[in-house]
């Protein structure tokens, strides 16, 4: 697809690149413990970006037999309105791309029965008379090809599987929702399924008793899931685009210590076995690991080709594109590396859990006289995220008193500012794990505002 498209564009535009992707998904869904639906989806898409008259334009299509000429014409029409840009398209690679496993035969060849078996196993293990359990299993097999007019080419196959278990327990007027997920490029091992079951069970059993929330500026343990509200502002601020636009609080701070010196974060597309891993990005830039935060200092911002050109720097290989839009900046795997602490994904990088499942709190509860464990917040991403400020009702949170979990709290809201809280991190947990494309341990943060009714 790429070669004939680039050939069709030659002579009509000065430069360009393209992405072709084919995805096949198989999904099974258990509702209230019953297998009720199975589905397949097939999608093919082709995205073209051109530079014509010095201006950039894009076009995409999901047509099975794309009309290359029409696609080029549409991209040129888009470029007529586009901004002037000088893109530095990567030349044909002189070295081979980094070899990382993204395709697992076991995942690609898993039959419908194999997927159903995993679901049944989870339903059996997690069924309780007073709970409803839903399980969803989605397996994806994708082929990607990228290329540009400068001669660079890249192609790879990838697999991914997500196994999601969510439990709803309604007792009178009390609604409790507990959820966890295995995500990997390879099929989950028995240990992965066991870890998923125990993770859900641990959080469910500690939540059965409801206790009154505390109030005030308190120590709060954010679990890897609960951390989303704290990490999101950083992800926005470390994007080269936000920096270029002047709205990043971290702009101009490269090399400055902005966070606790034990905190390091990298964007790592080379982690084996993760669905977000890839040898090359969607703009033909070979993948590499990018230090975002190094021992508390701002490291490097992430860039795609266009943003890098405008900022007069190099792409970090973080170009991502869909079928219809233009490439944009996206993270691959965001990995927390704790210096002088326990953590970083193990040698088996791709596994969901670095170790057998941990008790709630990641070993951080001992010194807490009164505080919270926050596992889920409601409405994350909907406030003024870039400022670092967050304020959310708790979705799933536990009270900690004298170092022990005493029960679940409801009708409480936590608020704070990510930049203030991450300046001094109380401690890092021993429970590092993957959650989607992010690996982190729990973190104890001090002085988080907790309000209650």
């Amino acid at each position: 697809m790429i070669d004939p498209l680039i050939a069709a564009a030659r002579g009509k535009v000065e430069n360009g690149d393209a992405l072709w992707r084919r995805e096949e998904q198989t999904a099974v869904g258990f509702e209230s413990g019953r297998l009720k639906a199975a589905g397949v989806s097939e999608e093919t898409g082709l995205n073209l970006r051109v530079v014509a008259g010095g201006r950039m334009g894009v076009a995409g299509t999901t047509a099975a037999k794309p009309d290359f000429k029409a696609l080029v014409d549409r991209a040129r029409a888009s470029a007529e309105l586009g901004e002037k840009v000088e893109l530095d398209f990567p030349a044909a690679a002189t070295q081979t791309l980094p070899a990382i496993p993204t395709f697992f035969d076991r995942t690609a060849n898993a039959s419908l029965e194999d997927l159903i078996r995993i679901g049944k196993q989870l339903v059996e293990r997690l069924s309780r008379p007073d709970c409803q359990i839903n399980v969803a299993i989605e397996r994806e097999v994708a082929e990607t090809a990228v290329g540009n007019a400068a001669g660079a080419r890249g192609a790879y196959r990838a697999t991914g599987i997500a196994v999601t278990a969510d439990i709803t327990r309604i007792a009178g007027d009390d609604v409790l929702m507990v959820y966890d997920q295995y995500v990997g490029a390879d099929m989950p091992s028995d240990a992965d399924i066991e870890a998923l079951v125990r993770s859900v069970e641990t959080r469910l059993s500690a939540a059965l008793k409801v206790v009154a929330p505390p109030e005030g500026a308190l120590p709060v343990v954010f679990t890897p899931a609960g951390l989303a509200a704290v990490v999101l502002p950083l992800e926005q601020a470390l994007s080269g685009k936000t920096v270029l636009q002047g709205s990043s609080p971290l702009a101009g701070k490269v090399g400055e210590r902005m966070f606790d010196e034990r905190l390091s974060i990298v964007d790592d597309p080379l982690t084996p076995g993760r669905p977000a891993s890839r040898p090359i990005d969607d703009e033909c830039v070979p993948s590499r690991c990018t230090p975002l935060v190094e021992r508390g200092k701002v490291g490097r911002f992430v860039y795609d080709l266009e943003t890098a050109a405008r900022a007069k720097t190099q792409s970090t290989g973080n170009g991502q594109r869909g079928v219809f839009g233009k490439p944009h900046i996206g993270y691959s795997n965001v990995v927390f590396r704790v210096t002088d602490g326990i953590g970083a994904p193990g040698r088996d990088g791709g596994a969901q859990h670095a170790a057998p499942v941990h008790p709630l709190g990641g070993g951080l509860l001992a010194g807490i006289a009164d505080g919270l464990i926050v596992d889920d917040l409601i409405g994350v991403g909907q406030g003024n995220v870039i400022s670092g400020a967050f304020s959310h009702p708790v979705g799933l949170a536990y009270r900690v008193q004298r170092g022990e979990v005493t029960g679940r709290v409801k009708d409480a809201a936590v608020a704070g500012n990510a930049y203030d809280l991450l300046k001094k991190i109380g401690a890092f947990g021993n429970d590092g794990r993957w959650l989607g494309a992010r690996w982190s341990p729990s973190m104890l943060l001090e002085g988080v505002s907790v309000a209650r009714r």
Binding site: A38, G325, I378, Q382, N384, S391
Partner: protein
């Protein structure tokens, strides 16, 4: 196309087969700051097949290549037959509909040059940037589409729908002395080009608000009497109650059904809530849902009591109720699930206004505009764009980071006054559920007063 789909349904060996095919023409313009990001025209097309066999589960296939239709029908049938069910899935009866339902395009966006769309957005984006040199960044987007949807099922339904949509939105980022604030305007309509002209003032207002918020204090956390403006009251009812009125949240769960039994009291007598997919000209409006069921106005809460819920054919059959036309899919890539359309809090007594709500509040919060909301059924958030303190019955200083924590059983019941100043708030964005986002919906409400609600922040 209809004949082709009808033929494919006829060839299907399943007991029940439905096919939905969509062809969507769309164009988009995006600005970031003063710079154009993209201006594109796209065409997306694909199909969705869903089949059911007696005693078996749903088999589903979605695809972008229509040439594969016969194979996908067979594939869906095989998937269905791989799932044996003891308790069969039943579908409530709906008289098969045959119609061409063409919504008013209101200035067909397909006939407007992309350059004019760029100019329009440039004006709105420029209006935000011109407000102050403290506006350091903007994100503005214009997106329109005309979607053709064919729906055919083995019971004889044969529908063709033409669904337009146009969304213009802008975020203004203000910055000074390390503070960063944003203002958001978003207009989403199931209409066309003519409906999105002359909104410069609205964009200016939100940019000015981003600047004003830079010097506003954060709201202090705690429980307050709260007045919600029309926009936030709409988001509130969508999150607080709308999602739990979707029958798929309860139909397989006996405890949930008991909690949500019809006739239960959820609010005071002033509270009336409904969902109306048949309302004229709104973003959530559709003549037929994605199972071919005609849409309707469904009462959910009447004088404080639960009186109805939103259904697909499957949830309606399970609960012995009637389908309401709320089975919706965001595209051919997804199955229809129970969703809201245009959800509203009905206006209170005519003549009751904002001043009647605020008069006796000594200390409270007037929460305005909406950045969003999310629910976990009992507990939910709704995030205001900004707020004002209420002091001694009057609107006082501007405050920021106003996020409300709601509880289904407490917050609804604490609504004690509802004004008569109802408006529909046709925002862009949309609703997300089950991996399907953004679904076009509308919310409507008057000013609403909650006796006491929790707001997050320093205490």
């Amino acid at each position: 196309m209809k004949d082709r789909l009808a033929e494919a349904v006829k060839q299907s060996r399943a007991d029940y087969t439905e096919i939905r095919v969509e062809r969507t023409w769309s164009s988009a313009v995006v600005f970031r700051g003063r710079r154009l990001e993209t201006a594109t025209v796209s065409e997306d097309q694909g199909g969705f097949v869903r089949v059911l066999n007696k005693g078996y589960g749903w088999g589903i296939a979605s695809f972008t290549s229509l040439d594969e239709l016969p194979r996908m029908v067979r594939s869906a049938n095989e998937l269905s037959r791989a799932i044996r069910l003891e308790e069969p899935i039943r579908l409530a009866d709906v008289a098969p509909q045959t119609a061409d339902a063409l919504l008013d395009l209101d200035g067909d966006v397909r006939g407007i040059p992309l350059s004019e769309k760029k100019q329009l957005l440039d004006r709105y984006n420029g209006a935000m940037l011109a407000v102050s040199n403290k506006i350091v960044d903007t994100q503005s987007s214009y997106r329109d589409e005309v979607s053709e949807v064919w729906y055919v099922n083995s019971e004889g339904a044969l529908l063709y729908q033409l669904r337009p949509e146009v969304v213009v939105s802008g975020t203004a980022i203000g910055r000074s002395n390390g503070n960063i604030e944003k203002g958001l305007e978003s207009i989403g309509l199931r209409k066309g080009w003519r409906s999105v002209q002359n909104f410069e003032d609205q964009f200016r207002v939100v940019a000015q608000r981003a600047v004003d918020l830079l010097s506003a204090p954060r709201v202090r956390g705690g429980a307050y009497p709260v007045i919600l403006d029309n926009e936030l009251a709409g988001v509130f009812i969508h999150e607080a109650f709308g999602h739990l009125s979707e029958a798929d949240a309860v139909y397989e769960n006996p405890q949930a059904r008991e909690m949500m039994s019809l006739g239960r009291r959820f609010g005071k007598a002033v509270l009336n809530v409904g969902d109306n997919g048949a309302a004229k000209g709104l973003r959530g409006t559709l003549p037929y849902d994605d199972e071919g069921t005609p849409t309707q106005d469904t009462a959910l809460i009447k004088e404080g009591m639960l009186v109805g819920r939103l259904h697909s054919r499957e949830t309606a059959a399970k609960l012995g109720e009637r389908p309401t036309g709320n089975a919706r899919a965001i595209s051919f890539r997804h199955p229809p699930i129970v969703r809201m359309t245009n959800t509203y809090i009905a206006p209170g007594r005519k003549g009751v206004g904002f001043n009647d709500l605020i008069g006796d509040i000594e200390l409270g919060v007037y929460a305005c505009g909406a950045f969003g909301g999310q629910t976990m059924l009992e507990n939910f958030s709704f995030t205001a764009a900004y707020g004002h303190m209420i002091r001694d019955g009057k609107v006082a200083e501007l405050v920021k980071d106003v996020v409300l924590a709601g509880n289904l059983f407490q917050t609804l019941d604490r609504i004690d006054h509802i004004a008569g100043d109802f408006t529909w708030n046709q925002m862009g964005g949309g609703c997300g559920k089950g991996g399907q986002f953004p679904l076009p919906v509308t919310e409507g409400a008057p000013h609403v007063r909650i006796e006491q609600a929790l707001i997050g922040g320093d205490v």
